[in-house]
Symmetry: C2
């Protein structure tokens, strides 16, 4: 495996906006404008975020008329988020404190 895979992948998941997009797409697939409005975030910012997510195949896109509909790769994402949640509950007592910076 490419030695930068972890970096690219986890940098994606380290980004709060991309996590919000991921959360939003858990529910159902959405186009860019829908995501933008739902999150109250400017469109190009959403597009930039989606491109990064797509690079790692964390989301996929389908053209539907002039919209582009993004859907989540749940198979990968959901188990990872679950592990972190469990980890946080088990080891971090509801949040990682004491991290300066």
């Amino acid at each position: 495996m490419n030695k930068n895979t972890y970096h690219i992948f986890f940098t994606n998941l380290a980004n709060p906006l991309r996590i919000k997009i991921i959360s939003s797409l858990k529910e159902k697939e959405k186009n860019v404008t829908e995501i933008s409005k739902e999150l109250g975030v400017e469109q190009s910012k959403i597009s930039h975020a989606l491109i990064k997510l797509r690079c790692c195949n964390l989301v996929e896109v389908n053209q539907k008329g002039k919209q582009r509909v993004y859907s989540l790769n749940k198979k990968t994402i959901l188990p990872i988020l679950k592990i972190i949640d469990t980890h946080a509950k088990t080891f971090c007592e509801g949040g990682c404190k004491g991290c300066k910076g």
Copy 2:
């Protein structure tokens, strides 16, 4: 759960040096100097990295004389890395290409 948990956690895993440290600690627990020498990386850099990893309880530390011995929280780390590896093989054909920047 704290809404920044993902950020802190994944920022840790997005860092190549910290991934190297994690890989090294898979084998066995090690003190700071051992890690530093093994990776050929300056000591304070290792210490800074370890502090971040420790913040999220991805590693834990035990004093042993004047050494501080770090060990890996395998329970959390190993399954996550495995998911990424599988993801990369399944969806990225040996590496995430086409990501500019």
